[in-house]
């Protein structure tokens, strides 16, 4: 089925459903946020984030935090679908299956971006790191999150159907998401240390390549993951 107004509408309906449910319960976002703060707190003492250390590890600390919080959100967002048989209802709906994938992916991405939008200023405030607020840095964060969520949504749809469930997601996701995390750390770390846009072009290109490939692949194979 080619993208049509109904495809777009179906995707948006799922996004709306997830956002509305989250707005009422606020389970997922609050968990992700508190968890992120705890991870940063632990890093603060484990790495002794003084000004010299921060220069080299800030990007790594932020991305590790987002990756961990991201798995938490991905797990939860797919588990609620599975637990109350909601997924079966979605699958019965007469829409293209990939609309379900994009719907879930966009709402997952929205949750991750909301968490980032709160954690980043907080980090900037705590550690006086104003360089976080440059447009290219935020662009890298966005590109990295897109790639991470695209693979993550697909794999969480898989892991939720296995016996080990939420334990399995990070194990499946992290090795496959290594390129996206490394490229993001490289690009955002470079920006924080005053690199020009041209200097981070290579990791940025790889990030875009990864995003495009994995969105396309997830789109193509999602059918196989949800079929009964």
């Amino acid at each position: 089925m080619s993208p049509s107004p109904s495809f777009f509408k179906a995707t948006m309906a799922i996004v709306y459903k997830d956002l509305a449910a989250e707005l009422r319960s606020r389970e997922l976002l609050s968990a992700m946020l508190v968890f992120s703060m705890l991870v940063i707190l632990i890093f603060n003492f484990a790495l002794e984030l003084d000004i010299k250390v921060r220069q080299s590890v800030t990007a790594g600390v932020l991305w590790t935090t987002f990756a961990f919080a991201g798995t938490l959100g991905l797990n939860r967002s797919m588990a609620v679908e599975k637990d109350r048989g909601c997924m079966d209802g979605l699958l019965l709906a007469p829409v293209d299956r990939s609309a379900i994938f994009f719907g879930k992916a966009i709402s997952n991405l929205a949750f991750m971006l909301i968490v980032e939008a709160i954690v980043l200023p907080l980090y900037a405030l705590l550690y006086n790191e104003v360089r976080i607020f440059q447009l290219s840095f935020l662009g890298v964060i966005l590109l990295g999150s897109i790639g991470y969520i695209a693979v993550g949504t697909l794999l969480s749809a898989m892991s939720v159907q296995t016996r080990t469930r939420d334990v399995l997601l990070p194990i499946l996701l992290f090795p496959v998401a290594v390129p996206v995390l490394l490229a993001s750390v490289k690009a955002s770390g470079g920006l924080l240390n005053g690199a020009t846009f041209a200097e981070i072009l290579t990791p940025l290109n790889l990030l875009i390549v990864y995003d495009v490939i994995f969105i396309a692949v997830a789109f193509m194979v999602f059918d196989f993951v949800v079929e009964e």
Partner: protein, 232 residues
């Protein structure tokens, strides 16, 4: 009971012979490398096992796609066999590489692009087995396995490219050499004989093991069927 095909028995024997010959060529026939000495002999088997390790992962990704298209369980058995055999060979590659790296680089391990990619690839395929273990339904197991090999096969090359942004010290013996590589050398003709024979030998051994693993897979399936028949 399905008896063992004669061709497989012959291939078993050939495998053992070529392994013996490859070992002889690597350990005795090939000249000792001037700078590194005898430890360089690890190289023949290191590259041989790496070659079949990577070959198996490519084969697995193709089998995965074939499964998703045809939904034929034979492709699934093919895929599992390829991943299992390759994971083992790749592990051997990493161990042999470490043995060589200790005297050549003065460290067992370093986060060089090739080494990191090797480690990540190995982890992807260990995750693959954990995924399969968590699923009871054989058809679903095959589907998810195929999807995951596909993702793994796509992400490994990108990992390699990304980590190349950091510097590399791994030597490239065939093709162009990076200026920073340490422990490189050029091969004499006797070394080339040992090298190419090792590649050939491991390819034969790989096919032999694959064949055995696929056969094991179909026997396993038969046992499951028989068990079901008894319980019914």
């Amino acid at each position: 009971m399905q008896s063992k095909p004669i061709a497989l028995t012959i291939l078993d024997i050939i495998s053992i012979i070529v392994l013996g010959v490859a070992a002889y060529l690597a350990l005795v026939f090939a000249p000792t490398e001037l700078v590194m000495g005898n430890v360089q002999r690890v190289f023949y088997f290191h590259v041989g096992t790496a070659w079949v390790g990577l070959l198996g992962f490519v084969v697995a990704a193709i089998a995965g796609i074939a499964y998703l298209v045809t939904k034929d369980m034979r492709w699934d058995r093919f895929e599992v066999a390829a991943v299992e055999v390759s994971t083992m060979f790749f592990f051997i590659t990493i161990v042999l590489g470490s043995i060589w790296a200790r005297p050549a680089w003065n460290t067992w391990w370093t986060w060089d692009p090739r080494l990191t990619t090797a480690a990540v690839t190995e982890l992807i395929y260990i995750a693959y087995f954990m995924l399969r273990q968590g699923i009871e339904d054989p058809e679903k197991r095959a589907r998810f396995g195929a999807v995951y090999t596909l993702l793994g096969g796509l992400s490994a090359p990108i990992t390699f490219m990304v980590i190349r942004l950091f510097r590399t010290i791994h030597p490239v013996v065939i093709g162009s050499q990076s200026a920073e590589a340490q422990g490189g050398f050029s091969m004499t003709s006797d070394m080339k004989v040992a090298f190419f024979f090792a590649l050939f030998a491991f390819t034969v051994i790989f096919i032999d093991l694959m064949w055995r693993r696929i056969r094991l897979g179909s026997l396993q399936e038969k046992v499951e069927e028989l068990k079901l028949n008894i319980s019914m």
